[in-house]
Symmetry: C2
Subunit: 210 residues, 2 copies
Amino acid sequence: MAEPIRMTKRDAARRENEARILAAAEKVFAEAGFGGATMQLIADMAGLPKANLHYYFDTKEELYRKVVQQIFEIWLHAADSFDNAPGPVEGIGAYIDAKMDISRHHPFGSKVWASEVMHGAPVIQDYLETTLRDWTKGRAAVIQRWVDEGKMAPIDPRHLLYMLWAATQHYADFGHQIETLNGGRPLTDRQWREAKESVKTVILRGIGAI
Amino acid sequence: MAEPIRMTKRDAARRENEARILAAAEKVFAEAGFGGATMQLIADMAGLPKANLHYYFDTKEELYRKVVQQIFEIWLHAADSFDNAPGPVEGIGAYIDAKMDISRHHPFGSKVWASEVMHGAPVIQDYLETTLRDWTKGRAAVIQRWVDEGKMAPIDPRHLLYMLWAATQHYADFGHQIETLNGGRPLTDRQWREAKESVKTVILRGIGAI
DNA sequence: GTCTATATTTCGATAGAC
DNA sequence: GTCTATCGAAATATAGAC
């Protein structure tokens, strides 16, 4: 009779510990890279003995893989803003907003993703070739339709998508450089709004949508 | 009497070995990150015994530092295209051309730079705070002048610079992703030209310069 | 200047008591 | 499930013959 309750408690502890470890791992992997990250650093940041990490995640690589998968999900959700939009002003505008918000609130995830891709995507190559390829194909078709409908200038949809990814993720991946050039201070709320507006204005006017 | 010649030969050998090591190190650091790179890998790629690396560069960190400095010089030279331009179309257009060429021909350097900044610039923080800060201030002033002269729309010069860096370097740093989305094949000459034109068109129209 | 062999350290992973 | 102690592998760095 006590079993269900004990299982629930145990499961709750497991979930919490896993979440703590994943959050710590995301930060450490982002700041030190996969090779520079150590299980000891992650354990210290999670407030757990190193051996416990190996209890929840067999190997360092498995832990890293989970972190990258987590990030990938976040990227995919940003695409929702893109859908069901009547035209590029709403669709691309909302997408930029969503991506900029992610850069601000998930900078570690963005960096881990960037690092993974820069090193040749040794862990998530299959995602690139399946999920991301399909996603890109679909969005490129939407953009092409907007071009055909005369709602924006004729731009290669692929290169436009790359520009959107580049411009938005830059604020996370190169956040340290931006902060340094900002006098060593993080961007304020106001500056983040200005950044968003700058990106949206240049892109939307650049594709002839406004 | 023979000394000068022997010194010259020795110096030539030294320079060639250093260059070989630096080229190999740039590639390995780019592909594996600082932590993932090993002196053995670099030595193998340079075709030298591992101990020789320590003869030319005392520590792994010193070798890495030299690689990053080399890259920094390349970035600075790209700024020449930006100067002495009558307006944004010529200045920013030439800058985009130069940065895109660097992304194509120095992808490893770009990745090492990106990785260094992403990890908080532990090695080149002083460069960010001096050389890069001054450089950015100067270019931002030029852009602001163009705005004041009515040659382009009122855009925050900082955010425009970030967009230029982001859009151009993305083709190096995320080259693997772009290649995967291109059917697993590197961009052709034609596709590189299209990429350049896309970036230039969107940016220059986006800032109201064309 | 070059290279082999090795010292020293660090890290990922595990064993085993609790 | 948790934690201490430790193993074994791998990496940086160096010693010393040539």
